[in-house]
Symmetry: C2
Subunit: 356 residues, 2 copies
Amino acid sequence: MKKHNFYAGPSILSEYTIQKTAEAVLDFAGTGLSLLEVSHRGKEFVAVCEEARSMIKELLNIPESFEVVFLGGGASLQFCMAPYNFLEKKASFLDTGTWASKAIKEAKLFGEVNVVASSKADNYTYIPKKFEVPADSDYFYFCSNNTIYGTEIREDPHFGMPVIADMSSDIFSRPIDFTDYELIFAGAQKNLAPAGVTLCIIRKDALGKVSRAIPTMLNYQTHIDKESMFNTPPVLPIFAALQTLKYYKEMGGIPELQRRNQAKAELLYNEIDRNPLFKGTVTCKEDRSIMNICFVMNDGKEAFEEEFSKYATSKGMVGIKGHRSVGGFRASCYNALPIESVQALVDCMQEFEKMH
Amino acid sequence: MKKHNFYAGPSILSEYTIQKTAEAVLDFAGTGLSLLEVSHRGKEFVAVCEEARSMIKELLNIPESFEVVFLGGGASLQFCMAPYNFLEKKASFLDTGTWASKAIKEAKLFGEVNVVASSKADNYTYIPKKFEVPADSDYFYFCSNNTIYGTEIREDPHFGMPVIADMSSDIFSRPIDFTDYELIFAGAQKNLAPAGVTLCIIRKDALGKVSRAIPTMLNYQTHIDKESMFNTPPVLPIFAALQTLKYYKEMGGIPELQRRNQAKAELLYNEIDRNPLFKGTVTCKEDRSIMNICFVMNDGKEAFEEEFSKYATSKGMVGIKGHRSVGGFRASCYNALPIESVQALVDCMQEFEKMH
């Protein structure tokens, strides 16, 4: 049976990425060796890494003042690397969920942390909008898409100060205005590659301004200077990333990805709003994520949750169980998810409605 | 033509590891999904991660007082993580090469660093032996195998204090006496898995003793508590590691690996010592690495270097160029390298001798 992969991450990758990676595991670039066992310093892999960095710049239209590097350690490592490199005295954070909270916790080890607003009291069901960012902040930090709560900020903030963003779960889903950013990071395992590599886009002239000593591996400058080859990078995830980027370019790039993502999200949100058995969890509709679509059984219909879960599973849906902090269901509709999978889920919901 | 993979790292993996990983990239554990796109929280991958950790404990006969975790970020990240977690006042280091030097550099950010001995003045051509370790050191640190210079320490040190070792390039090549260790770490890309995961073996009761605050991701306790699942781990490298471990167990485990490695090293060192065209670079024969075998053209034969390099390449040898710090040639003979590849290199050397 055809599986519909709604995992929140690691998550669906394009068939192109999977096929090309499987081939390279058996024979990489005609070397007669597996991608798993080639030197990262060999000319074939150096070319892969350079092409991947260059295609990211091209697809996202990244200004020349920025550099792109691939790091290991996961996006969670960025929660301490960002303040290590950029927090001198005070930074301002928007608390929109678990990932922003984790970043706040780490930043407190490095300086004063000012939380400008939080929707925690309402279980993060919306994005706080009315807040001020103190002008003396070193930077403003936010998480653009909240995988767990299904909210998203799709506008790039402008507060007259540098901005740092965790875009782990929605990078490559829309164009980015880089004007105020000094750092954007993203764990690759949603819209780019298998788990094990983190993409960082860093404004070069923003580095070197904090007074503390930074361990070599935690200093972005190290990785910029060595073009992501200071130490052995995660070879296979970077190769897979390049395949995904080629697939994106071939399909029409970011504008086409955005169009497809909006169409998928509209299809599913329309059904959630129409179907009397279900309701969305995000209270403010304009904050709904186009990447992670969270819904629960409607009031009075809670008893059907397990039955729907089993029914959807029987129809090939994978990974739609909601995070324990929200409950219910979460359909993650990342770039590689075809609209046919969303339609299959909508069909499930409609069939389930008829059954009850 | 059959390739003989002598890369220093990332490096040769067993055919079993490569084949099983290629299959899983197309269909992982019968899920109908690729290993590249499954959740790390899915029961299939949780089982992989648990089995891999458990097999490492079994194969290396690790005492229960230790825990095994898989981390991202590369072994280079351990150069700062180790002192972050274990260096309160002073640590003692044995400087045997590039990797030890890098660890020394990072440790200086955290406390007093005492270098007990160094062979740097002799381009690290031997392992210093006569030295004392001050009793007030928090720990003694060494790198067991020097990939670049081809020296190795195959005896586990006992100085009446905790020991930390970087075993990136020789773990699983010999049994380990864990008595005095508090941390052993190893980048996986030599004897275990493709690049992107670092194995850490940590004495549990040695943690929590430094007074500084440790960022969550850099605290070993975080990863022990969450069984390597605090954040998304590098899924594919861990899966591949499990395949390698199964292959090791099937072949007879560490004693058999050690026997094979010694046979391979003996074969090549004997030829280096016999063949008048070549000479080994390690001045003290007892310090010669069984993993990375470094040799250069003999005195007066230097002019043949490029010709031999081309000849060996024409015979299928890959990755035998020596590191620029040593020059000449380096044949890395990790666990997965069959003795047939070493014999092929020896044949090359003998044919080249006849030609000149």
